[in-house]
Symmetry: none
Amino acid sequence: MIRAERHERILSELARRGTVSAQALSAELGASVATIRRDISDLAGRKALIRTHGGASLPSHREELPFDAKLMTNLAEKRRIGAEAGARIEDGTFIACGGGTTVMQMLPSIRRKSLRLVTTAINVALELRETQSVEVTLTGGTLRRRTAETVGHIAERTLRDINIDVAIIGVDGIDALRGLTTFDPNEAYVNRVMLERAHEVWILADHSKFGEVLPAVIAPAITAARVFTDTGTSDAAAAPLQDLGIEVIRV
Amino acid sequence: MIRAERHERILSELARRGTVSAQALSAELGASVATIRRDISDLAGRKALIRTHGGASLPSHREELPFDAKLMTNLAEKRRIGAEAGARIEDGTFIACGGGTTVMQMLPSIRRKSLRLVTTAINVALELRETQSVEVTLTGGTLRRRTAETVGHIAERTLRDINIDVAIIGVDGIDALRGLTTFDPNEAYVNRVMLERAHEVWILADHSKFGEVLPAVIAPAITAARVFTDTGTSDAAAAPLQDLGIEVIRV
DNA sequence: ATTATTTTGAGCGAATTTGAGCGCCTTTTG
DNA sequence: CAAAAGGCGCTCAAATTCGCTCAAAATAAT
């Protein structure tokens, strides 16, 4: 295992558990305690975590950090989900997407494709800025601080003027009976418009999102859609969706 | 296996896993470690990945913004110009701005103000993301790679629906006879709309911009406007503008 | 078919990383 | 409060990886 991978897994564990011991990491990652301690020192130098006696803990002010805790949770799963969805996109497609953490993990795969993309998220725009083969359009609108996504009537109107081939959205809750949900009503509404305007809908959701029902409703029921998730999603969780005729892709 | 195919597989593995070791790739692709290392070097040269000891990791494309302060010419002047313009903005104003390097230097001084701002530039949005007191709206539109600004009919339409108090734009060329100019025609046009929609126009231009005439015309003639520049701008350069009744503020 | 060019794999010294050992220090526990 | 336990910083040797050269192999050109 190379250093970068250990660093990533340390941050991922940290995001999940809040604190980690060098001992435990050593056992989990199969590296000596000395190496783990060196890694922790490296990451502490980058302010990605706080070094503590015996291990490390999450930094206090998450906002200013290079590694967002939410981005690091279930990172490996999100990568696989994103890569799988990205690999299935065909050249020439017109894509719409938001800025969820799983959607972000899709971007490395679409960088080599030739397509057009409209997004509400400045993160996505930034990440694809250098990519020659992808034409990026921003919806515009009011900027939400928490997610760096744009919402409101401007975003909505932009989307209504575009014929989208595939809408790819990450959701915070997916439930066969209660539909797709998220935290912010404004974002939910923009996502809903995206779904309405799209010929095809792909949903990215890691296993932790299944059965979750959150306040803001994107879609009250799931109809035609492809759901991408990880192998951590049980058959029992996937079955209700498949009964609705929805394709569930587990990677 | 041909080289292009290996490159493709390496990038695809990287998208899936986030990091890869040369060892693992060698086994998976059936090529020697030496060849894999050469491939990684090639891809690193194209900035498609980051070479690390023992393998490679995904690149982060977010830190290569054109507004890197280190690369900026006349930085000190731009800071003074931006600070002066920012200081003159009153609370409650509705501002429009682009994303020029000088405009970026204005942002620190508007952090503490309470105002609304519409911008074409994702950098501005990103910079003000954490600022509670400033409500940020993005115009949306097609993303220009070089400047990270949005242009086109979407940006234009957003601006046409807003009554702007002050439009603050950085220009690449300012000349009393030939007007305001910049490099990109698309950006020039969006800036023109911004000027039309604004009750007041403030122009930020360091001394190097005076007398410059560039291909894309923002405004063929300068009418009512305030020009902010540095003390490096000579009286001779400022006089023609002042003769037109334009206020030139040198800081 | 033969020659020229490019690509690949292996070998080797240099550089980097890793893991273990050993006093010293911090935390815990009785 | 003192002793024990565990963690830290440090050094050093072993293990890996790197950069480089060179010959074999594959590919392209004549």
